[in-house]
């Protein structure tokens, strides 16, 4: 029995809210309104290749990369703890990872403002135990912290869901054959968890590259990222053409990195995002 009609609302949805906007972005990025009407132009793309904008792009990629690496280093062990049989308070820990996500993202970032500021909670504590106050807010470190804090669950959860599905008998077999725990991890667990790692990396890297709120609030507007640049074009300068060109290039870049990622993901099943 075919139920093709069930898909129609989704198709309509896709066309209206994804396909058409995408076309509009492409349209805006290659056209310009002059006195003679709308003409084709590539000047917005040309403008992007000026050193200043390339620098902004590189900074976005760099900061997102750092945050992703930190998320992976912090997230993997946490996912392992969550997935292990022996750990009793697993549910509580899992809840603690998820609960912050119930709160609004903007609100959580604002909270860091009050935590990190000069007379904020952390500095008050530092000076209470007799240490000099530190400049915690409005620097690159604060931006990375904001990204790691906000996107860590997106790294933990995919890895966790893959780890928990690993057949325990495979691990037992490896142990029976004389592998010590390090070898088991290196040769069995880690390779099997790779799909989760890959989707974790994608899920952290993508929003980190495109964020504009974190860099504006925690970076004090001094660390312009590609997201800020796009926002600026739409909200302040009204240069939709340049903004669209930037968004388009950003999308191509993400598509490109996802293609590389999916190469690693192909063979193994489950846990993958795409």
């Amino acid at each position: 029995m075919k139920k093709g009609w069930i898909a129609y609302p989704y198709v309509v949805w896709l066309v209206i809210f994804i396909f058409v906007p995408l076309l509009l972005i492409v349209f805006y990025s290659v056209t310009k309104t002059t006195d003679e009407g709308i003409v084709f132009t590539l000047e917005y793309f040309k403008r992007f290749f000026e050193p200043i904008y390339i620098m902004v792009l590189l900074r976005s990629l760099y900061l997102a990369l750092i945050s992703t690496i930190i998320c992976l280093l912090l997230g993997y062990p946490l996912a392992m703890i969550l997935a292990s049989k022996e750990f009793r308070h697993k549910r509580v820990l899992l809840l603690l990872v998820v609960i912050p996500m119930w709160m609004n993202f903007l609100l959580r970032t604002y909270a860091w403002l009050t935590l990190l500021e000069k007379n904020g909670v952390i500095n008050t504590f530092i000076s209470f135990i007799g240490l000099p106050k530190m400049e915690l807010l409005y620097n690159q470190g604060a931006v990375v912290l904001g990204m790691v804090y906000n996107f860590l669950p997106f790294m933990v959860l995919p890895i966790y869901s893959v780890l928990i599905k690993i057949d325990k008998s495979i691990i037992e077999a490896a142990e029976d054959l004389g592998a010590n725990s390090r070898t088991v991890f290196r040769k069995v667990i880690f390779p099997l968890s790779l799909p989760g790692v890959v989707s974790g990396i994608t899920m952290v890297y993508m929003p980190a590259v495109t964020t504009f709120v974190i860099s504006r609030l925690l970076g004090g507007g001094q660390f312009t990222l590609i997201g800020n640049l796009i926002e600026q074009q739409f909200l302040y300068t009204g240069e939709w053409g340049f903004g669209s060109a930037l968004s388009l290039l950003m999308m191509i870049l993400i598509l490109f990195s996802m293609a590389i990622m999916s190469k690693y993901e192909k063979e193994s099943e489950g846990g993958g995002l795409f």
Binding site: M1, K3, W5, I52, Y53, M55, V56, R59, L113, E117, K118, N119, E135, L137, Y138, R216, L217, G219, G220, G221, Q222, T224, N228, L229, Q232, Q233, F234, L235, Y236, T237, G238, E239, W240
Partner: protein, 350 residues
């Protein structure tokens, strides 16, 4: 099976559509509807409800965050608005681009309460298109306990003594404009050499700047996180209430004087109702409620008479004519906006 499911689905859809129609018919029937487009948190909402009751006109109220934001959504079409509140330079741009209706002042008798000094502004020399809503200045707010030099010039923002204690405003026109003014140029310049000089000055200043901020500036200054900040006067009034150590000055170079005005865009089909709404806002009593809620400065003479003596003497809220004698008003520089944007990006991305 398939057919019955389809039938059920159609039935469900039909029922919901009918009920929506019925429900919407149930509410109070208004004789007209106007769409008002204003800055975020820039009106006492109870005024809207009162207006709806008094005139039986429904108000659909939406907000924007920047002049450009508002301009773009009007320009791109698709959305109809009847009353919009742009700043003076945007009023001028919209007049130039033939986007505004002429307002019939006969329908706005309360216009007589608007102070004469806010009439015949350069943006709208014959008062044909706009009615002033609120006004203010751009200046420096500083913490008396943290700054011991006299604060009377933009130059203090380049004083290395206050490194990492200076908050700049995250707004292209304002930050570049004040630097131009400090260098002795016009805030509205299109001269590339002058703009280049301002850019170098701002890049030079960057190591001293703690952050380029928007709305957070209020919390930061009240909490003593920084010593100096560039702010709009209305914000300064609110900050001083919360932290008496703060003081506001209009720099001797002149500062910037701004006006937000009510206008009726050409896309409006309810011009008379829109005029009725603008007139309502100019009513001294209503304007007082609004001023009291927002804290910005009113151009309404009768409303000013109702205000506290203390507030009237506050230079942040109601500077004297002398204080604003050298203040410059923003002009429309839309043809140079791309240059401004490029400069601002270069400064912030450095």
């Amino acid at each position: 099976m398939k057919r019955s499911l389809k039938l059920k689905f159609t039935l469900l859809l039909a029922v919901s559509i009918v009920s929506i129609l019925l429900l919407s018919g149930c509410g109070q029937s208004y004789k007209a509807t106007i769409r008002v487009y204003n800055w975020g948190d820039y009106i006492d909402k109870s005024i809207i409800t009162d207006f709806e009751k008094e005139y039986n006109i429904k108000v659909i109220y939406t907000t924007f965050t920047t002049n450009e934001d508002m301009y773009v959504s009007l320009k791109s079409g698709g959305s109809t608005y009847d009353v919009v509140f742009p700043s003076e330079y945007m009023v001028k741009r919209m007049i130039n681009e033939d986007m505004l209706h002429k307002i019939n002042l006969d329908n706005i008798p309360n216009y007589k309460y608007i102070d004469d000094k806010f009439k015949n502004l350069p943006a709208d020399p014959n008062n044909e298109y706009s009615v002033p809503y609120f006004w203010g200045t751009l200046g420096i707010v500083y913490n008396k306990t943290m700054v011991d030099d006299p604060v009377d010039s933009w130059e203090i923002l380049w004083n290395e003594k206050y490194a990492k204690q200076i908050l700049m405003v995250d707004s292209q026109r304002d930050s570049i404009g004040l630097t131009l003014q400090m260098l002795g140029y016009s805030m509205n310049t299109r001269n590339l050499d002058e703009l280049e000089e301002a850019k170098q000055k701002l890049i030079e200043q960057k190591p001293l700047v703690l952050a380029y901020v928007g709305d957070e500036v209020k919390d930061k200054m009240v909490g003593g996180e920084a010593a100096l900040a560039v702010v709009w006067s209305g914000e300064a009034v609110a900050m001083k209430w919360e932290n008496p150590d703060l003081e506001y000055v209009i720099p001797k170079e002149g500062g910037n004087l701004w006006f937000d005005c009510a206008v009726i865009p050409k896309v409006s089909k309810n011009k008379e109702e829109a005029e009725l709404f603008i007139n309502y806002l100019c009513d001294p009593e209503i304007a007082y409620r609004n001023t009291d809620y927002i804290g910005y400065s009113t151009p309404n003479i009768e409303t000013m008479k109702m205000l506290d003596e203390e507030l009237l003497n506050d230079i942040a809220a109601y500077p004297s004519d002398e204080d604003i004698a050298n203040a410059e008003v923003f002009d429309d520089v839309s043809d140079a906006l791309e240059i401004y944007d490029r400069i601002w990006t270069e400064i912030k991305a450095k």
